[in-house]
Amino acid sequence: MRTVPDTFHGDREDSRSLRIEMNRDSKAIEVSKVSKSFGDVEAARDVSFEVKSGEIFGLIGPNGAGKTTIIRMLMEIIKPDSGEVRILGEPLRESTKNRIGYLPEERGLYKKLTVIDTLSYLSSLKGTSGSATRQRATTLLETTGMLPHQYKKVEELSKGMAQLIQFVATILHDPELVILDEPFYGLDPVNTRMLKDMVSELRKQSKTIILSTHMMNEVEELCDRILMIDKGRSVLYGDLSEIKARYRTDSVFISVDGELGPIDGVVTMKNHGTHYELLLDGKTSPQRVLADLVNRNVTVNRFEVATPPLSEIFIRVVRGQTE
């Protein structure tokens, strides 16, 4: 895996923390009761949410849920039929536009242009150019492993490589708000990991990030808060850890030295080879199980309260609503 160079890191950790602290309460995006229909299809219905400055916000849901429509309304590409959107404290304006980096679902690079010319062209559209931009482009290309391809035409790149170039173009002008629509689509696992690292790095620089994806499990590790949508409606919204705690199952993953004898309150014990999965009876807490094991002097190498992946939570939420 490629590492992220220092030059991309921006400010040091302490000052980053300070900036995040300062911006904690400010809202990068406020969406209030937004609806949008296309013919008979309701792409968004009464959707409301806020994105706080400095967080990674996940806009998640299956394909066709309305994520891209919501993003397009944020960017004023389409107007909501009703409702209000405020970006960086105001309705989207010409002056706000260049403070945003937007990776659209529709990738539109010019095939005949070289990578470096593409970046130069797209950054000029954002009003940035000159040696500092060129230096930043070089750094980002290096980070993404695309530097050797800088003089290739876009049509010579693989889909995944083109995707990385588009991502670089999105953040090249150092925007404070980054909106990424399906950024991992078409990427191999190595590039997906690298892109995730870069997104995490952006957060460390106090950037606000909206991550829209149907690959819900891919963003779990990144997001602070999420909006889960289905068929244009908001089905789940809030702090990711709270949501996961709310939907946690009564089971724990455990790895111990030696054999694991019977434990009070455990209904089922599955041996997965490297670890056990214990299903609790609903009255017994995971903490009590851990205390029991410690009291029995069992060496515990891993103890993890199982939380369902987002995709499973989604299915449970949608099923619950249907029922």
Partner: protein, 553 residues
């Protein structure tokens, strides 16, 4: 705020189509929901402004229903002297520019109308939509527009509605206007310079009067000396000319403009585009896209990729419609307050006077533009557009109503004249009383005088008018007409033709220019010219043999 040019430059074509043309996917309920929401936003601005409280006569409507019930219909007079004196502090929002308009019939020679920044931003998208529709062959076809398309400029200056919209379109999609240096050039010179430049630079699109395209094509077919110096200096032009000649030879006919240029789009407004549609398509290889709009409301409606009925934009103006019978009642008695309908209430194959309320901080509320439109259907089945389709019918006060001939608009008269094949430079027409008989009197400046008799033209014109009857001759509310059967028996005698001397219209324009008239007043109107105008057109002859009949205004 993302603008069309941002998406065009980034090659995001699907988003571009959605942004600009997505309104054609709306249902009528969704269309009305947008109309209502934007009207409520506008009402707040109007209520907080001096001009708003003035024209609403103190009404403070909170709903669309209250607005329609409590706010009177307005004309430009209601906004004076504030708009006339361009008082910005009275407006609902700060204008980004003032647009001037003119009319023959109004009290004010020049009317000023403010456009707000938000209004312009929405117009930009609407105009981009027109450009996409003009070039597209099917829904979502957005592959023919790119930045720096070469567009011939035949519009007014930026202080005029057409010029301002041209400027917005240029900003919206990054067109290059030809001629590149056009300031200070008189109209004819500008067109000439534009085509000369197009010969070597190429020409992708045209916006303006379709009659200009016909005129240029006709001039091309007239034998003239070749400017060898120009061609030598511009080898690209020479190449284009050679290619054009080769194409024409292959087709075994004289060279036409379509042999020289492959136009992607022709955009024009109202009557002009409708009348010359077939002719322009034959000469230039592309039919003009008809849009409807004006200074007061920007662009209000457009044809789409199928070049048939026009679809209204939901987000530029709040739209109300006065049915023709209501309009006629008001014509007879100006104290009568005509009822209005909304777009979801209009019926097919009816004429309506259009009433607009500007959105986005504009100044005009329930404003009678003075135009009649005709709804041709409630949806476009073939292109799957579920919104009422309309055509521009004519100026509400530019209808000549003659017993036996019906209600004649500029478009019908123009089409009939075109169809006669009579070569003409220009024309104007009005209702006159000859003896006890009401006639349509056509004043025509022929292209040449040899062998054309006024009586023959009148006969031919009447025949063409009858042919158009099926298409246009509907006269359900002809309340002026009490003896139509008797009058119809008079037949062809209801049309009189007077041929004007050569140069009549050019002399008129020169005279008006010398008098300092602005662009909007240079040409005489096609319909109902005054005695003074006719006298200026033909001082030597004695036109206007009958007494002019002016419709009530």
């Amino acid at each position: 705020m993302v603008r069309p040019i941002d998406l065009l430059r980034q090659g995001r074509k699907n988003e571009l189509w959605l942004m600009c043309c997505g309104f054609v996917d709306l249902s009528i309920d969704q269309f009305m929901a947008i109309q209502n929401r934007l009207l409520l936003e506008q009402l707040e601005l109007l209520k907080a402004s001096r001009i708003g409280t003035k024209v609403m006569r103190g009404a403070m409507p909170e709903t669309v229903e209250e607005f329609r019930k409590e706010v009177p219909l307005t004309t430009y007079r209601d906004y004076c002297p504030e708009l006339q004196e361009r008082r910005e502090y009275v407006l609902p929002s700060k204008p980004i520019r003032w647009i001037r308009t003119s009319g023959y019939s109004g009290t004010y020679d020049i009317k000023w109308v403010p456009w707000s920044g938000r209004f312009e931003a929405e117009l930009e998208k609407a105009l981009a939509a027109c450009a996409f529709f003009a070039t597209s062959r099917y829904r979502g076809d957005i592959n023919h527009v790119r930045e720096h398309l070469k567009v011939l400029h035949t519009l007014g200056g930026p202080e005029y509605g057409s010029g301002a919209m041209g400027e917005l379109l240029q900003r919206s999609l990054g067109f290059d206007f030809l001629p590149s240096k056009r300031e200070e050039l008189p109209f004819a010179e500008k067109v000439k310079a534009g085509f000369a430049e197009a010969l070597h630079e190429g020409l992708d699109a045209f916006g303006g009067l379709s009659s200009v395209l016909v005129m240029v094509a006709e001039q091309m077919q007239q034998p003239k000396d070749v400017d060898v110096g120009f061609l030598t200096a511009h080898p690209k032009a020479l190449l284009r000319l050679a290619r054009g000649l080769a194409r024409a030879r292959l087709a075994n006919r004289a060279m036409l403009p379509k042999d020289l240029w492959d136009l992607k789009a022709i955009i024009g407004g109202g009557t002009d585009s409708a009348v010359f549609k077939k002719k322009v398509e034959g000469l230039w290889g592309k039919a003009p896209l008809e849009i409807y709009g004006g200074t007061e409301g920007g662009v209000c409606a457009t044809q789409t990729w199928d070049h048939s009925g026009l679809t209204f934009f939901p987000n530029i103006n709040f739209l109300e419609f006065i049915a023709e019978d209501e309009h006629l009642k008001w014509q007879l008695d100006h104290s009568y307050v005509p009822k209005t309908m909304l777009l979801d209430e209009v019926k097919p194959n009816q004429n309506y006077e259009i009433v607009i309320t500007n959105f986005h901080g504009g100044a005009l509320a329930r404003f009678r533009v003075g135009d009649m439109i005709r709804t041709i259907s409630l949806r476009n089945e073939e292109s799957r557009i579920n919104l009422p389709q309309m055509v521009f019918y004519g100026r509400a006060d530019y209808v000549i109503d003659i017993a036996g001939l019906g209600r004649l608009t500029e478009r019908i008269i123009w089409e009939a004249l075109e169809n006669t094949g009579v070569p003409y430079i220009e024309w104007t027409a009005r209702k006159e009383i000859l003896g006890e008989r009401a006639v349509l009197h056509l004043y025509i400046e022929p292209r040449h005088v040899n062998g054309i008799a006024e009586r023959d033209i009148a006969k031919s014109f009447s025949r063409e008018l009858q042919k158009l009857e099926k298409q246009y001759h509907h006269n359900p509310y002809n309340i002026y007409d009490s003896d139509s059967d008797v009058a119809a028996e008079a037949g062809l005698r209801q049309v009189e033709v007077t041929l004007l001397p050569q140069g009549a219209f050019l002399n008129y324009i020169s005279q008006r220019q010398a008098e300092g008239a602005d662009l909007g007043h240079l040409k005489p109107p096609h319909i109902s010219p005054t005695d003074k105008t006719l006298a200026a057109l033909a001082p030597q002859s004695s036109p206007g043999r009958g007494a002019a009949v002016t419709p009530p205004r």
